[in-house]
């Protein structure tokens, strides 16, 4: 089922959590809402689920306006950030809940419920934990139970609020891959909220980057990472060096005294050399070198006294024989230029 969000605005007092947001989520895709905290991503997700009400705007499922439907009627699967498992029910009872509360006419038989829950338990690899209570499970297990519970009612869309937010790094990695696999199997339209750009880029088919209640850019992970539409997106997705500069006849010059343009360069798109080349370069002095890891990280200070981060391959580093406190030239291989006005 596709989701269309049209002109959604939501205020909390004076604070605009969402400001006239439009978003299209195609059928069967896994979409990430990515943004810093306070960007409105969770509010948008809750509005899609019917857990929160927009001040204006509509939400459509398959082109049908469902803004007036309650959460109960929308048939969405919602996975809460802190799981919201029913603490007095076992894992089995939690997963079966959505089926058991159906009106008698639509309620599956006890065997059907059992079969369905067991199938889901296999899917989340917790067959042996069915009789346990949520408090006896680890965070990662609770998260999977929450997911199975949401899937049990065969929702038309699956919404996940910071699904891996409260897990530690390793469990997070595993669950991420598992979610991707799961989506490839069941192909249910899914939206998940995250503040972790790596997570969004790795898992999602499409990423919607949000900032201050607006959507900055929607696109494939490749799109948003390599062709950011705004300085915010560039800044938010990965480490970046910021310079000031000017553009003359299509050539970009780094010039700290200029104020017309903001220039962004990712650390791995900066070249270190002993000789200048091309029109765009500057001088710097290396201050700190960290060669542990796949990439060598160099911190340097520019001629105008600002810090700059460069990443280069081990091969390049060894070829250069770079040492600390050495004067070098830094040459950007690719610069993203944004005009310095308002939203740039």
């Amino acid at each position: 089922m596709s989701i269309e969000v049209r002109g959604i605005t939501k205020r909390f007092g004076q604070f605009a959590a969402l400001d006239n947001v439009d978003l299209d989520i195609p059928d069967g895709q896994l979409v990430a809402l990515l943004g810093p905290s306070g960007s409105g991503k969770t509010t948008l997700l809750r509005i899609i689920a019917g857990l929160e009400f927009a001040d204006c705007g509509t939400v459509q499922f398959d082109g049908k306006d469902i803004s007036d439907r309650t959460a109960r009627e929308r048939r969405v699967g919602f996975v809460f950030q802190h799981y919201a498992l029913f603490r007095h029910m076992t894992v089995f009872e939690n997963i079966a809940f959505g089926l058991r509360v159906r009106p008698r006419k639509f309620r599956p038989s006890e065997e059907q419920i059992r079969a369905k829950v067991e199938e889901l338990l296999r899917l989340i690899q917790l067959q042996n934990q069915a009789r346990r209570y949520p408090s006896q499970l680890s965070g990662g297990q609770r998260q999977r139970v929450a997911l199975a519970r949401a899937l049990a009612v065969e929702p038309s869309v699956l919404l996940l609020d910071e699904p891996f937010g409260s897990l530690d790094a390793k469990v997070r990695q595993e669950l991420r891959r598992w979610l991707r696999q799961l989506h490839d199997e069941v192909h249910i339209t899914s939206v998940f909220v995250t503040h972790d750009q790596e997570e969004a880029l790795e898992v999602a088919d499409r990423v919607a980057v949000m900032n201050e209640g607006r959507i900055e850019q929607v696109g494939s992970p490749d799109d948003v990472y390599n062709h950011p539409a705004s300085s915010f997106v560039y800044n938010f997705l990965g480490n970046v060096n910021l310079f000031h500069g000017r553009v003359d006849d299509g050539t970009t010059y780094i010039d700290e005294s200029a104020s017309g343009h903001l220039l962004f360069v990712r650390p791995h798109l900066l070249e270190i050399a002993r000789q200048p080349s091309g029109p765009t370069y500057f001088r710097a002095t290396t201050k700190h070198i960290n060669s542990a890891g796949p990439l060598v990280k160099v911190e340097a200070v520019t001629e105008w006294g600002a810090p700059v981060h460069v990443e280069l391959s081990q091969e390049r580093f060894h070829a250069l024989q770079l040492v600390k406190d050495e004067a070098v030239f830094i040459i950007p291989k690719d610069i993203a230029v944004f005009e310095k006005s308002g939203n740039s």
Binding site: A49, A71, R72, H88, V101, R142
Partner: protein
Amino acid sequence: MAGSISSTIRSVPASGFVASKATSEPAIVRWLLIATAVLFLGVFLFLPLAVVFFTAFHKGVAGYLRAFQDPDTLAAIRLTLLAAGIAVPLNMVFGVAAAWAIGKFEFVGKSLLITLIDLPFSVSPVVSGLIYVLLFGLQGLLGPWLIAHGIRIIFAVPGIVLATIFVTFPFVARELLPMIQAQGNDEEEAALTLGASGWQTFFKVTLPNIKWALLYGVILCNARAMGEFGAVSVVSGHIRGLTDTMPLHIEILYNDYQFVSAFSVASLLALLALLTLVVKSVGEWQSRRQLADQAAGEAKESQ
């Protein structure tokens, strides 16, 4: 590591404090303090409790049982059961409704509402009785109209029930509110997205989570309802066998120098009080265990 240890201590404050040398007192000071506390509690709590049962059984079990052969005593017990039987369920329904409205929703005037609910706590029991006399009594606002229609409230059972409801009004609400607030709305929202109706959500999700608080609130409310003295004393009229509740009957027996009978009836109410304390302790133990379980789960997660 250090963070997780200190947080487990915080979540189990009463039993989890591990004193080190730098933060503990010399043994003599410690035992002196313990002895003072135990002596204070012994004199002020244990002795009065002990004297109730001691005097009740002063003339043996037969003497104790004889107290309950008096028809006036039995009538008093019946009236007390009736008053509590009406007051407690009403206050329970009110408590659940108030806790739901206040704990689950944001609206204007919430703290004023909480203050108003607490009002009966801050009013002297004698004044609590007085207000009903002023409303329904002979010289009261509605008194003349009630007399004309032959309805008796003051110096009759309805007055006793009303006064009992008033004094025990906030107990269930007050007991549930912190519990309902602490639990947030997540589980209810989850239930609704899974297709549960409002009542299903309440009975299958909310109620099981607050059952211990509800039980304690009801038991405490019941103990206070059965034991209320000041307010009921004002509205009752002290008609033996008709408008005497257990506490009022205890007063009459005591003033008649029938000490064994007075304390025998009193021992029933004291037992009720002890039962209330047991339920509270068990409830606390339950919620502490739940906390510990949760902490264990979180520890597992960070492994």
